[in-house]
Amino acid sequence: MKTSILAFGLVAATALTSPAHADKLDDIIASGTLRCAVVLDFPPMGSRDENNEPIGFDVDYCNDLAKALGVTAEIVETPFPERIPALMSGRVDVGVASTSDTLERAKTVGMTVPYFAFEMAVTANEKSGIKSFEDMKGKVVGATAGTYEAIALENQVKAWGEGEFRPYQTQADVFLALSQGQLDATVSTSTVAQSNVKGGKFPGISVVDKAPFDIDYVALFTNREEYGFINYLNLFVNQQVRTGRYAELYEKWVGGEAPSLAVNGVYR
């Protein structure tokens, strides 16, 4: 009798002790919650509806991921500059935050394969007389600090050697400054440009041209060493495309044909 209790106790103890190498994927499944960093002033990728609930492509994407993992999603609002501190301090598990997968950044965080791709558009104040990308030379231009297009546009202004570049902290501030005429033009993702021009909150602006920057592929990101989780995320991105969910979400939030996420002629 006593030995069987002892044996049972030993077995139970072995079973309950968590394995020595629980990784992030295990932790998320065990905790039952997936915490996603999402930027909520970046429509249509992330914003808030009239009831102040988070909505957008990235929000839906996080919910899909949580569903696949069998856990509940928690959207953690994270401004662009705070994505990395949020991840490093353990406040979020994964960034679903339109993050461009630059090599420079990949030294710090682990990037998945691209889950979305942006094309860049030039939006100008109608009074500035800007009709094309080249017209921006010598003018005051701006973009959202910390984004791919901000880095590319600032480099372009430096290359032109004239004009001024101003980074603002939020997309809303960029379009406010543009609408007031403090900026002559901005480069943003075409999805954001369209939604702000149509939104009617910022009068006197229009989309005038495409920007000749490379396509901005954006990736999910998590801690660099979490290979198990990154593997899962890569497969998840693949499945989203395969099952048609990517195209469905694109149609819902952006409209039109979803851009290809594959690069011709090379493996990832």
Binding site: G90, T108, Q169, Q180, G181
Partner: protein
């Protein structure tokens, strides 16, 4: 749990760029103090003038400057005025915002300092044949500035730290702006911010010590 490997060499390579930013930071802070002191003296005179309109302007200024966040004041200088077609560059908006804030706090400083100078001194000046303006300028003002000097260095330190709010209006040449940009490019948040914090600390400390040395040299009786 904080799992993050520091890449200090990458941050240190950017140090010259950040020091250039520190110069701009110091420049904005110094200019904002010069303008702030001038405005604060004007506000003090307004309050002493006995005129209800001038007194009202001074009181409103001091109330708004001291009881609203500096962030709000700087944001309003850029986007608020922008709504009325007045376009200040990020640099100017930041300078105007901080100078406005400085003037409000310094005016209160000066008011306190003024109370430390007995009325009888101005009256003695008047009885020696000075005009009231001469008595204020030659007798009261120098003493007021002396009493207010060390408290005003607090405001100088505060002005240096407030320049970091410039990022909200698109400022990208000061220390905070450059740090933000380096961070956006590389995601090495903690190295760059730690380095920026050290630079801010050193500037603030240097200013405090310099002010103390200056006061020791100038204000011996």
């Amino acid at each position: 749990m904080f799992n993050y490997t520091f890449h200090w060499n990458q941050a240190l390579r950017a140090l010259p760029q950040m020091l250039d930013g520190a110069v701009v930071t110091l420049q904005v802070a110094v200019l904002s103090m010069v303008i702030g002191v001038a405005c604060a003296i004007a506000l003090t005179v307004f309050r002493l003038s006995g005129s209800r309109i001038l007194g009202g302007i001074a009181t409103t200024w001091v109330e708004v400057a001291r009881n609203t966040p500096a962030l709000f004041q700087i944001y309003m200088a850029h986007f608020g005025l922008g709504n009325f077609g007045i376009h200040l560059s990020p640099y100017t908006a930041l300078l105007v915002g901080i100078a406005f804030n400085n003037a409000g706090y310094l005016a209160e400083n000066f008011r306190g300092a003024l109370k430390a100078i007995p009325d009888t001194q101005a009256r003695a000046g008047r009885s020696l044949g000075m005009t009231s303006l001469q008595a204020f300028r030659l007798i009261v003002l120098p003493q007021m500035l002396r009493v207010a000097f060390l408290p005003a260095t607090n405001q100088m330190v505060w002005a240096i730290l407030m320049t970091s709010l410039g990022v909200t209006v698109g400022m990208n040449t000061d220390l905070a702006g450059i740090t933000q940009e380096l961070n956006a490019r590389s995601f090495r948040t903690f190295e760059f911010f730690a380095l920026a914090a050290v630079i801010y600390y050193l500037i603030a400390k240097a200013v405090t010590l310099a002010a103390r040395a200056f006061a020791w040299r100038m204000f011996r009786y």
